[in-house]
């Protein structure tokens, strides 16, 4: 890249020059953080969650009356994929103690802990829609929070979480997070996770948006990759059962109104299979691929919100699904990577958000919903954004400032993934800023659980992004990587505990007939089916001529 000049088109050069020229003057300067009143105002005016047109009231089910995005209501107000009368429940393909649906960090750690708490490896089954370990868990870049330094404490972590979540969090779950956090880090190191360290052997920890201390642990900007692959390696070492490319399409219940396994769909053979289980753990992640309000997303291909659909049909309560997280810094250019994540760690290490004139306009580490709202305001109200060749509005994230603050070589060393991706598409982030705009990142709400990850339906446990209550109405950076291991481990333990005494009655899919009745009674006439399993990105021409002949 020695002949590198610019990764941006000619018409953007004037703005880029203003950014470069103002860099030295901005060095060491922070924009003033907003007051609580200013924060509330900007949320109400600019955050996508506050647009009433984007939502409707859920018409059926145990959380009827809850206001959710249309895209979420659409999958919840859908018919099951399978018809109960077409499924033979007398032939059980897998008979296990613990069924885990989803193979991200929550699911895999649940498997390990179930095993350590007395469930033999061959009495655990993990089913995964795609490959083992393929999940949003793997895509996390910036880090994982844990209050383990002398100037920090679990109670400060608690306060940051609950304030960041607008006091809507479930206090017991927040307590579980902050109490377990240091032990999660300890556990990771015991398994062999390579966390970034300082020369003195202590953890390298940085701040994230809305954190009052530096408590973000990282593994370069491949934190999720490193955590996931170590836990996956251990999962395979234990010989725990798993099936890949196999989706759960609905949960099974028994005649005692307990969840008792699932109906699976093999993506290769397209046949269904029946798994009977004493404990079932949903660890299916979130709904990023529903593209709420048309937003691009950072999420994994499989993030289609399957878990909330399956849980809801068994009668599980949902909460906080009115709230969606838009990560402030999604890539806005080049076109090939629009929506993909530019880690918050960039701002944690000195990258400054600036407008088209190279001016600071927001404190760089506001909580995510506030930070995102301010980027939207800068682009759409103040018209101080840049416009990409495809017409997208964006602000600059001035990454070269990272090396001005921390020295040359910092970006390649600490941001290997970011540097690599932008380089592949022609932008050297050491030399030029990134164009960014908020991108759909995280499902803040979900299935309601208690500290043992139990839902209100016996036999059903949930862990990770599929759950609500942990993060209230807004999650802070580094708390989802923490969440999946805190509640994944708790789910494994609790599911194992239950499996010791639980017995499964006669299997039934009557709850699916009941669900169809609810749709009827609410006057919902639709041919929508859910869970979606995979998003639809095929070209228009193909879809218009599609036949299902084979």
């Amino acid at each position: 890249m020695s002949d590198y000049k610019t990764g941006y088109p000619e018409y953007m050069q004037e703005s880029l020059k203003l950014v470069a020229d103002s860099r030295a003057a901005r060095f060491g300067k922070d924009f003033i953080p907003m007051t609580p009143e200013q924060r509330q105002q900007i949320l109400e005016k600019f955050h996508p969650d506050w647009k009433p047109a984007g939502k409707r009231t859920l018409a059926i089910g145990p959380s009827k009356g809850m206001i959710v995005p249309h895209e979420v209501a659409d999958i919840l107000e859908s018919h099951p994929m399978v018809k109960p009368k077409e499924i033979d429940l007398s032939n059980v393909d897998y008979d296990v103690d613990v069924l885990i649906i989803g193979a991200g960090g929550a699911g895999m750690s649940a498997g390990l802990l179930a095993n350590e708490n007395g469930v033999p490896a061959d009495k655990i089954l993990m089913v995964q829609k795609l490959r083992l370990g393929d999940a949003n868990s793997k895509m996390a870049q910036g880090g994982i929070q844990a209050a383990d330094k002398s100037d920090d404490s679990p109670s400060m972590h608690y306060l940051d979480i609950i304030g960041g979540g607008h006091y809507a969090n479930k206090p017991d779950l927040v307590e579980a997070m902050v109490r377990d956090a240091p032990d999660v880090i300890r556990w990771h190191e015991e398994l062999g996770v390579m966390y970034d360290k300082l020369a003195d052997g202590t953890m390298m920890e940085i701040a994230g948006g809305g954190t009052s201390r530096r408590r973000m642990h990282s593994c370069k900007d491949y934190t999720g990759l490193e955590l996931t692959r170590v836990v996956l390696d251990e999962f395979i070492n234990r010989g725990i059962g798993y099936v890949e490319f196999t989706c759960a399409v609905d949960l099974l219940m028994d005649d005692k109104d307990q969840v008792a396994g699932a109906v699976l769909y093999d993506l290769d053979s397209e046949e269904y299979k029946i798994v009977r289980a004493k404990s079932t753990i949903l660890a299916t992640g979130g709904f990023g691929r529903l593209h709420i309000q048309g937003f691009a997303t950072t999420n994994h291909y499989g993030a289609t919100g399957d878990g909330i659909v399956m849980a809801y049909r068994t009668g599980a309560l949902l909460r906080d699904l009115d709230s969606t997280q838009y990560h402030p810094t999604g890539a806005a250019y080049p076109e090939q990577i629009v929506g993909q994540l530019a880690t918050e760690k960039l701002r944690g290490r000195g990258a400054q958000p600036v407008n088209k004139n190279g001016e600071l306009f927001v404190y760089h580490l506001e909580p995510r919903d506030i930070e995102s709202s301010s980027y939207i305001r800068e682009c759409y109200e103040r018209e101080n954004g840049i416009i990409t060749p495809t017409g997208m509005r964006a602000v600059w994230l001035d990454t070269p400032q990272i090396e001005a603050v921390n020295g040359a070589g910092t970006i390649e060393r600490e941001f290997a993934a970011m540097f690599r991706t932008f380089n592949k598409f022609g932008v050297d982030i050491r030399k030029e800023p990134m164009a960014v705009f908020p991108t759909l990142h995280y499902q803040n709400g979900g299935v309601e659980i208690n500290v043992k990850t139990e839902t209100n339906v016996p036999g059903l446990f949930c862990a990770g992004e599929v759950c609500g209550g942990v993060h209230g109405k807004n999650r802070l950076m580094g708390n989802s990587q923490l969440d999946i291991y805190v509640f994944g481990r708790r789910a494994g333990k609790a599911a194992a505990e239950r499996a010791k005494t639980a017995t499964v009655g006669k299997l039934t899919l009557a709850h699916l007939d009941r669900y169809d009745r609810w749709l009827d009674e609410a006057g919902i006439k639709t041919d929508r089916k859910a869970p979606l399993l995979l998003p639809e990105y095929r070209g228009q021409k193909t879809l218009e001529h599609k036949l299902k002949l084979l």
Binding site: R131, E190, M194, Y195, I236, N237, F245, Y301
Partner: protein, 229 residues
């Protein structure tokens, strides 16, 4: 050639000729012509290695590797996906390993067959010095093997190209776990904090916060001391 205002290029998806917009990634180009991925797509952002792809360009004998989500199509590209590479990951009890060269040889003796041909490195879509980390493992330099392999996504392209039939990413994974667990060891302040929590040092603080009503919590949150510099 243009279509609907797009510059188009010709690619061959597993031999089938297709016309696609020139600025698409291989992954989006395949979707454009009607593929719905079941295998061969994952994070779509260069973090998971599910979309390993090989291709040749018109007029070139070279077989090249890429991640489908991270590579823009080029005119004349002949594409095949390799979303799965057969390999056996050896299982081990991590608490019983020794941090030395013999551990690699015990589980993966084939690394001694490394020809130092560097084909693995050339195949890597992450531009990792694959051969160098395999060689580092062979001589017992765990730190180096761990460091050099760190950005590996486990896509499998190196393993599919290795004439000695080594599966490099398994070696890298073993090296990194050894490095963290045995060479670096646990972090003192993390262990200390775990003990403090167990002993109940923070119980009263947390209990107090849990009992607070919203205005009191707001007051405490809005006036909390920020120590992040």
């Amino acid at each position: 050639m243009t279509e609907n205002g797009n510059n188009m290029v010709t690619i061959y998806v597993m031999g089938k000729k297709q016309s696609v917009p020139a600025d698409l990634t291989i992954m989006k180009a395949m979707e454009y012509v009607g593929h719905q991925f079941r295998r061969g797509a994952g994070c779509r952002g260069g973090f998971c290695g599910a979309c390993a792809t090989v291709y040749r360009k018109k007029g070139s004998y070279k077989l090249q590797g890429a991640l489908a989500c991270q590579k823009i199509v080029e005119d004349g590209m002949i594409i095949a996906q390799i979303p799965f590479s057969p390999q056996e990951k050896k299982t081990y009890k991590v608490n019983e390993l020794k941090a030395e060269a013999s551990t690699f040889l015990e589980y993966y003796p084939e690394i001694a067959r490394c020809l130092a041909c560097n084909t693995c490195t050339k195949a890597c879509p992450q531009d990792i010095m694959v051969m160098d980390y395999v060689q580092a493992a062979l001589r017992g330099d765990i730190a180096q093997a761990a460091k050099l392999s760190f950005d590996c996504l486990g896509c499998g392209l190196c393993a599919m190209r290795c004439p000695a039939e080594i599966v490099p990413y398994n070696i890298g994974q073993l090296a990194r776990r050894l490095e963290s667990k045995y060479v670096e060891g646990p972090t003192e302040h993390v262990l200390k904090r775990c003990e403090e929590i167990k002993e109940g040092k923070y119980d009263a603080d947390i209990e107090e916060l849990k009992k607070m009503d919203k205005p009191a919590l707001q007051q405490k949150y809005n006036t909390r001391e920020m120590k992040i510099k």
